[in-house]
Amino acid sequence: MTGLELPLALFLMLNLIAALFRVARGPTAADRMLAALLFGTTGVGMLLLLAYAGGHPSLVDVALVLALLAAIAGAAFAGRAWTKESDDA
């Protein structure tokens, strides 16, 4: 533990909040999904940092599961949900 873990987790959280702007703005559905995917990667990072910041060591397992399944939502989005209509309104 270097003492940097918790501040960096907080930094990543602030990063996410900035990325929310892209979720709100779009313009295409994919832009929102990209932000959601960035949230996934950042979530993995935050879980690892929390695990080493004195949280529960098995949070590393949670991060591992999240990383393992990271492609599913993106693949379902590209293959199933994203159509012309998703970008309206």
Binding site: E5, A19, V60, A70, A75, G79
Partner: protein
């Protein structure tokens, strides 16, 4: 490696990782279209998480713990490469044209 050196390298890698996350986020916010934003996103996946994992692996207590951490990285790499490709392909199929510099238009 002595503990102080491990802590030093760990801190350096963690800060580099956080920087690439920031770069990914800035890219996501500032780049002009889906394709370029994909590029920005994968920086966070590849380098941000990569350095973060490296930084934590340096201070891991056992080899097994370090290996478990290092396993997370290639998984995310494979996932982000695939999803990036799928989204870009879908974007093309939907007829979203890539952004060009004004002088190239």
């Amino acid at each position: 490696m002595p503990d102080s050196a491990r802590e030093f390298f760990s801190a350096v890698f963690l800060v580099i990782g956080a920087f690439f996350y920031l770069a990914g986020t800035v890219g996501l916010l500032r780049f002009p279209d889906v394709y370029t934003r994909l590029h920005a996103l994968t920086k966070a996946d590849n380098l941000g998480l990569g350095f973060l994992v490296l930084g934590l692996a340096v201070q891991a207590e056992s080899l097994a713990a370090a290996l478990k951490l290092l396993l997370i990285w290639p998984l995310t790499l494979a996932a982000s490469a695939t999803v990036g490709y799928l989204i870009a392909r879908r974007a093309r199929a939907l007829g979203i044209s890539p952004w060009l510099r004004p002088e190239d238009r």
